[in-house]
């Protein structure tokens, strides 16, 4: 067995997300309609700066409040799975993010208000959430930039496979702040252009979005299965992939074997940058020839460490609705002709490959199928 695949499938007992459109069903419906949540917003919030495409929750400012304004939204999202028992040894919680409360740390630096600092660290932010949700103390925290959510899913799946937990809750949240928008703007990939994932155009660009998601993993209940996972970390360069695309291929290889004989569609990473986009579609086309490829960051923006879970929830909603949203925000010509620009019926497919990538040449992918 490859070290990255699972001995047996783990079931998705519950899964949902939060985007500016609402929950997974509302987000799925908006994407099918081709709506774009991204809007031009000053990159440093109240302090101004260049306009950049951001998808913020309705009514939420980029500047952090104390307590963070997103906390209530996170509680509302998690209400369907609220209840006693989460955060105990048999029902652990995995929290994943790339940002956690770093917007509070930025606010602390700008205002000097000490209260912000308490939840500016990863553990401080998760402690705020843990207390608000009434979880116990068995909470693991994973942070690996934009593949973070995949790590939480794998860790939870391994706990279940080992018999070390009965069910596991994976929660991911990334809410934007000038810290992260300013950082990506400094890298010159967040600018006034809206992202167009997989579109063959002269210059690439990304958008960023607020996003959160959760999944309850179980061995006993659920209509969808996480059948396999795969990871690969290139360690080639902080912000660039190996130019031969070997890292993308290495991450997908175990899933090619796991999905042999299946008819698949692919939810790609697709931020809107050109070089990584070309490498990604080339590797996907080689691994899964003919499989329709979609990406939704042209509408939702990149939800960073949470994108793997946010987009998994939309994939699950797509499977239940029988319709996959197209690659909103993009137009012809695309890098390959398998990029689906319009929605398509998915009932004839056996499963979905969900892929995410991150700084440091980190790659993660999973195979979701009907249970």
């Amino acid at each position: 067995m490859d070290t990255s695949t699972l001995n047996s499938p783990v079931l998705l007992a519950a899964c949902d997300c939060l985007t500016p459109f609402g929950d997974a069903n509302a987000t799925h419906a908006a994407l099918v309609r081709g709506e774009r949540a991204l809007q031009l917003v000053p990159v440093l919030g109240g302090e101004g700066g260049d306009p950049v495409p951001l998808a913020l929750l309705p009514g939420r400012a980029l500047d952090e409040t104390n307590p963070p304004a997103w906390l209530h939204s996170l509680q509302t999202m998690l209400a369907p799975v609220a209840g006693p028992g989460w955060g105990t040894a048999r029902r652990p919680v995995c929290v994943t993010s790339s940002n956690f409360g770093v917007g509070s740390l930025y606010a602390f630096r700008r205002t000097g208000e000490q209260a912000h600092a308490a939840h500016g660290t990863a553990h401080g932010s998760v402690e705020l959430v843990r207390r608000a949700l009434g979880w116990g103390e068995n909470v693991a925290i994973f942070s690996h930039a934009c593949v973070s959510a995949h790590l939480g899913l794998i860790h939870a799946a391994r706990l279940l496979a080992e018999g070390a937990a009965d069910e596991a809750l994976v929660v991911s949240y990334d809410f934007l702040s000038p810290f992260v928008t300013g950082g990506f703007h400094a890298l010159k990939i967040l600018n006034a252009d809206f992202p167009a994932p997989y579109q063959d155009r002269a210059t690439g660009s990304i958008g960023l979005g607020d996003g959160a998601g959760y999944a309850v993993l179980s061995r006993q209940r659920g209509d969808l299965a996480l059948a396999a996972h795969s990871l690969h970390n290139e360690m080639h360069h902080f912000t660039a992939n190996r130019p031969d695309g070997a890292g993308f291929a290495a991450a997908l290889a175990p899933l090619v074997a796991a999905a042999a004989g299946c008819r698949l569609w692919v939810k790609g990473h697709g931020t809107g940058t050109l070089e990584a986009g070309r490498l990604e579609v080339a590797a996907l086309a080689r691994a899964f020839p003919g499989a329709p490829l979609v990406g939704w960051k042209g509408s939702l923006g990149h939800t960073l460490g949470s994108c793997g879970l946010v987009e998994l929830a939309i994939v699950a909603a797509s499977l239940r609705a029988g319709c996959t949203p197209g690659t909103v925000g993009s137009a012809s010509p695309t890098f390959v002709d398998t990029v689906a620009l319009a929605p398509f019926a998915n009932a004839a497919f056996d499963g979905v490959i969900c892929a995410s990538n991150a700084f440091g040449g980190a790659h993660a992918a999973l195979l979701l199928s009907h249970a």
Binding site: T3, R110, A117, E137, I141, R158, A164, A186, M235, H237
Partner: protein, 218 residues
């Protein structure tokens, strides 16, 4: 019970050493020209981890409560002209990535963790659940400056790296295990874990509600 055997241990206890001194002390461990771009945490972790010679099929677990404190402070100070270099360096798990990128060492599985009182339990659990034959469990902290007073950066510096295997191989130096228990509480700070490993002290006790850690030296 989840368990693995400790084959190799490397630690660094640099005290209050400043970055320039760390660069001078550890420059021989890295490729020429790479040290000047590395952070202090990157140097600490990169040096101890490098001695274990990470391989493609090893699973790498990295634990740091605060991560890149100085880069984070520098990035926050750089606004409104945000520094792209400090931005990318400040992102967890840069401390472990710097040395690996410098050596061009790819790894299939890499699980970076953050956290507070449960960080050690979570990291050890991730290490013991990994299916690969060898797991490298590493971590550390660097001393922050202006964020320390707010509890948002570490006031200590240290680094550790352990090579763990499923089987007890010749030369094994210890045993690491997690077992379920009924105790309702438990915690072990990363700095305290470092102390156990650095001084080769045995430990058996609760590290999280429902989990007991056993660290034995053979």
């Amino acid at each position: 019970m989840l368990e693995r055997f400790i084959q190799v241990v490397r630690t660094d206890d640099p005290g209050s050493e400043e970055l320039a001194a760390t660069r001078e002390r550890l420059k021989g461990r890295f490729a020429p020209g790479t040290v000047r771009r590395m952070t202090q945490l990157g140097l600490f972790v990169g040096a101890v981890l490098g001695e274990l010679e990470p391989g493609e099929e090893d699973t790498l677990i990295y634990a740091s409560q605060f991560g890149e404190s100085r880069a984070l402070e520098g990035f926050l100070d750089s606004f409104p002209s945000a520094s792209p270099t400090l931005f990318q360096t400040s992102i967890h798990p840069s401390g472990a990535q710097q040395g690996l990128i410098g050596r061009q060492r790819s790894v299939r599985e890499f699980f970076p963790l953050a956290g507070g009182a449960q960080l050690v339990c979570s990291a050890v659990q991730a290490a013991l659940l990994a299916p690969s034959e060898r797991v490298l469990l590493c971590g550390g902290e660097e001393r922050g400056t202006w964020l320390v007073a707010s509890g948002a950066a570490s006031d200590q510096a240290f680094a550790f790296a352990l090579a763990l295997t499923c089987s007890r191989l010749p030369g094994a130096v210890g045993r690491l295990a997690l077992e379920p228990m009924a105790e309702p509480g438990g915690a072990l700070a990363l700095a305290d874990w470092f102390g156990l490993v650095h001084h080769r002290r045995a430990f058996a006790g609760p590290v999280a509600p429902g989990w007991r850690l056993i660290l034995e030296w053979l």
